[in-house]
Symmetry: C2
């Protein structure tokens, strides 16, 4: 069954998971994409994920339904208003309101189930913490703890076939992430970073995610090919 | 919002998760049941889970769809034939073929997301290892590793509101589990343990799970109220 290295890549449609996937591809992995339909406030994220999976030549791409909405209002992305025009200091104060309960724990667990099912060697996630550090489930110490849980809680782990939990961006800044993506030929026009796109899928340019993206492209001195309203 | 202690209980329809739920109820928790529709080879498991949730007076009971089938044949329960009439020694050799890739990792992760969404104090799981030890994701060391991942990867953990991963049966034998359930007034006629029930939901009496159950009731000297064909 096994031919070459395989990796499951958690693909959101944003910049980070696209660059993480491009890094895994460059490293020689055959990529099996996994995106979650978990009640995001907009559907454009999944549409970007589909375009990216094609662009990056994934071996497969699964959109996995995950009805977290059933758990109540606090399980939802987009609780309350999306803050606009915040400074970096404001972004860095506390856990962002875009935090979704145990999201990466759930995504990585299902990614590990997929990886074990297809005898893949890694689960790739675009998590990083440098630009703003509010998400507990993007920290290296969480990744390490999750790796131990996978090693102990799967047949693969018991049989010493490591499923590596790989967060290749974990110590990169947004500038480094975008530079890496450009070097790898990633088409950033396919990515969508905005928390609040309009009905045509155009980014707002003012939410935390848009502000960080725009600033990073400015710092590099490259045009951001993202579509803004 | 918070009134008294809440626990999310992972409920399969079998004996173990029913007794674990009864223990949590006795300990004063309000129980929020969570069952997974993950492509079990039979539907009677979920029907038993529904009856048990009612019998045990759960505050809520969610059946969560989890299409693991998409990950390929090896993600499915019931790969190959279900072994019948095996001895205890045979059952204890290696990881059983009823192992589902990363199942408890996924179940506990989604349970933790539910727990965090409703500000619950615990996630209860009926895992235990004494009777047969083949499942890696039932071991205490896995539970400990998963607890650390939850503590590090959730807002609740960062804010020191512990979501306890609680496996109250972890060191119990099947005899002790059934005795405990009987003491707590659990109606075992509602549980279904069989891996291979017939079209009317009657147990086979010969698969590993039936053999272990029947032997435990015999050892206690009580009639097994389960329905066999």
């Amino acid at each position: 069954m096994k031919k070459g290295k395989k990796a499951v890549s958690l693909l959101s449609g944003g910049i980070d998971s696209a660059v993480a996937s491009a890094i895994a591809k460059k490293a020689g992995y055959l990529i099996y994409g996994l995106s979650f339909d978990y009640g995001q406030t907009h559907r454009f994220e999944l549409s970007s994920a589909k375009k990216l999976a094609k662009h990056l030549g994934f071996a497969n791409h699964i959109i996995f339904p995950l009805p977290l909405k059933q758990f109540g209002a606090s399980a939802l992305l987009g609780k309350g208003r999306i803050p606009k025009g915040r400074s970096k200091d404001e972004m860095q104060s506390g856990i962002p309101n875009s935090y979704v309960p145990a999201r990466n724990l759930v995504f990585l667990a299902i990614g590990s189930a997929y990886a074990e099912s297809i005898a893949a060697d890694a689960v790739v996630i675009g998590a990083h913490t440098l630009d703003y550090s509010g998400y507990p489930d993007c920290r290296p110490e969480f990744m390490d703890a999750f790796q131990k849980a996978v090693n102990l809680g799967t047949k693969a782990g018991v049989e010493k076939r490591l499923i590596k939990i790989w967060a290749p961006l974990i110590n990169m800044s947004k500038v480094e992430i975008i530079k890496t993506g450009l070097e790898l030929g990633l088409d950033f026009s396919l990515t969508l970073s905005c928390y609040d796109p309009d009905e045509k899928g155009r980014a707002c340019g003012e939410c935390d995610s848009c502000v960080i993206r725009k600033k990073a492209f400015q710092d590099i001195g490259k045009r951001d090919p993202g579509i803004y309203r």
